[in-house]
Amino acid sequence: MAEGQLLSLAQQVVSGLSAGSIYALLALALVLIYQSTDVVNFAQGEMAMFTTFIAYTLLTWYGVPFLPAVALTLIFAFLLGYLVERVVVRPVEEAPALSVVIVTLGLYSIFNSVAGWVWGYVPKGFPSPIPGGTVRFFGLTVGLLDLWILGCALVIMVLLHLFLRRTTLGTAMRATAHNRTAARLVGIPVGRMLSLGWGLSAALGAVAGMLAAPKIFLEPNMMAGVLLYAFAGAVLGGLGSPFGAIAGGLLVGVIENLLGALVATELKAGLAFFMILAVLVVRPQGLFGTVRRRKV
């Protein structure tokens, strides 16, 4: 009996990891944009949803094969992010943080309602390159799709880490986020870095959306539930660390699932709230972040 309970608990953890991998992916996109532009993008989830709809349209309306459709979507997402930064975010760059938050909220409303308007609110299935079966490990049932999502998240995390830490471009982007004036003084094209940061993060969001869509179905509000947990994950792991985003996202997924199973499903959002609050109060830099010192 005890063993059976342990097994069902372990199964809950596994399901939690599967939900958490989606939070982790979106949290990664949030971290990328924060690392490269010092902005928290509230429209991240909606941009991911919007670009996933583009992929859906290419696949089902125009019959484009899967891989070219993904590639086209990524290009579209990159351009979308790039343009959004250049046209909408740049003018408020020097304004207080409040203005930027409000602008990203405006983008949130626009993407959400335009998607609902163009594609409607009926949830749609999204094709997946991975079959829907399950595999069994030590008596635990694990979805192939979940393994695929988790694997992609880990690969992207490593790539992102290498990009931000080991390449000149990544370093330039971090420098831009850290201190714009100093970055400008050493010859970094600050404006281009900011646009690039938004473009890359939108492309990453598109990946997150396309990976998540077979699992949570495609509809304009698909990211409403995910974004909050992605925020919780990003904050938990530290907004400054790709590894933290993954770990935080997975952790949030596991905690959420366990709580849902043991206490009550309706309190999940409350849990996210308390988790965000507790982490921010006790350890504002997150579990894996480093303190960023500011001169006053």
């Binding site: 902005v39 928290v40 020097e94 308007w117 163009v118 109060v281 504002p284």
Partner: protein, 342 residues
């Protein structure tokens, strides 16, 4: 002097209006008054104290449910119930104020966003108290026999008079020691603390007062509708609140009222506009079968939010101040060094 006369005329017109307009117009007028109270509260926090909140929908819900629960369980007269709603929300705001001392900018936005999502779900969960999906009913206040007002007229008066009292209160509050402390903390926490303004006391106070206003408005709404349910307090409501403050003008009492009026009227005009836009989209063949104009008003809100932030960061009232060449100090927009070409 001219300003005072204008204000007096406006007040008299507003007070006379419920007697002459139809039921629907009275409802719209009442909603404007309710939203104006929220806008004043949110503006105290966001405009005057510089603290962003995406969670005011939660305080609105706490106020509405607080009033309804007190009314149904204790059977107190309606003014006390509305006040109870305000106080409940104020307490919640005060409690949120403490952790918020450590949060700035986007982090505060994230935390309050989580609150806005959490509260409606909690309302669903604690069915015994909140009625779950069904929501709560409460009986609307009846006009005193001597006045002979219809139900909608009496409700409109309750909302209008409350809103006017709150406007008066806010104008005085921002000029008081407390208001000056809010503004000082917004402009520079370090400088304000250096001259003896207590950061913890005034920040928590800003949250408490702001939430109190919003809860009061929630109580008013509960009586205005006579029925409340969790789906009236989604995240969308919180964004709506922020939109009206930004459109009207941050750190401006007049701006709060103007923003509230616009956000109430806009959806009424909106259905025509969005139908028109949908027609346009159909024309170029972009629209899918079964596409709907439902919710397109949110795209309009989004565009307005961005346009205002980019071109008119002081909101609509700043047009007036600009015209008067009296722009300094209302919401100082930091103009950093901005070398071209990068």
């Amino acid at each position: 002097m001219a300003g005072r006369i204008l204000l007096a005329v406006l007040v008299i017109c507003l007070l006379a209006a419920p007697l002459f307009v139809n039921q629907f117009a009275n409802f719209v007028l009442s909603r404007m008054a309710v939203y104006a109270v929220v806008a004043l509260g949110l503006n105290l926090l966001t405009g005057y104290s510089g603290q962003i909140s995406l969670g005011h929908g939660a305080f609105f819900a706490i106020g509405a449910y607080g009033a309804a629960i007190v009314a149904n369980r204790l059977g107190l007269p309606w003014p006390l119930c509305i006040l109870a709603g305000g106080l409940a929300a104020g307490l919640a705001g005060y409690l949120l104020g403490w952790p918020s001392l450590r949060l700035t900018g986007p982090y505060l936005a994230i935390a309050t966003l989580a609150l806005a999502v959490a509260v409606p779900q909690a309302l669903l969960k604690f069915e015994g108290v909140t009625g779950g999906v069904q929501g709560l009913k409460l009986s609307q206040p009846r006009s005193p026999a001597g006045l002979g007002l219809a139900q909608d007229q009496w409700l409109a008066y309750i909302c209008l008079v409350t809103a006017m009292a709150m406007v008066w209160l806010t104008v005085n509050l921002v000029r008081s020691r407390i208001g000056r402390a809010f503004i000082a903390l917004r402009d520079s926490e370090i400088a304000a603390q250096a001259v003896g303004v207590s950061l913890s006391r005034f920040k928590t106070l800003a949250f408490a007062i702001s939430a109190f206003y919003t809860g009061l408005a929630g109580g008013l709404l509960a009586y205005l509708l006579g029925y409340i349910a969790p789906d009236a307090f989604t995240l969308v409501v919180s964004i709506e609140f922020l939109t009206m403050v930004v459109i009207g003008g941050l750190a401006s009492v007049a701006g709060s009222v103007i923003g509230a009026a616009i956000i109430v009227v806009l959806p009424l005009l909106g259905s025509n506009l969005t139908d028109y836009l949908a027609g346009l989209l159909n024309l170029v063949g972009l629209s899918a079968v079964g596409a709907t104009t439902k919710g397109l008003i949110w795209a309009v809100y989004g565009v307005i939010l961005i346009l205002v932030m980019v071109f008119l960061p002081g909101g609509l009232v700043s047009l007036y101040y600009k015209a008067k060449d009296f722009w300094a100090g209302a919401w100082p927009r930091e103009k950093g060094v901005r070398p071209g070409g990068v």
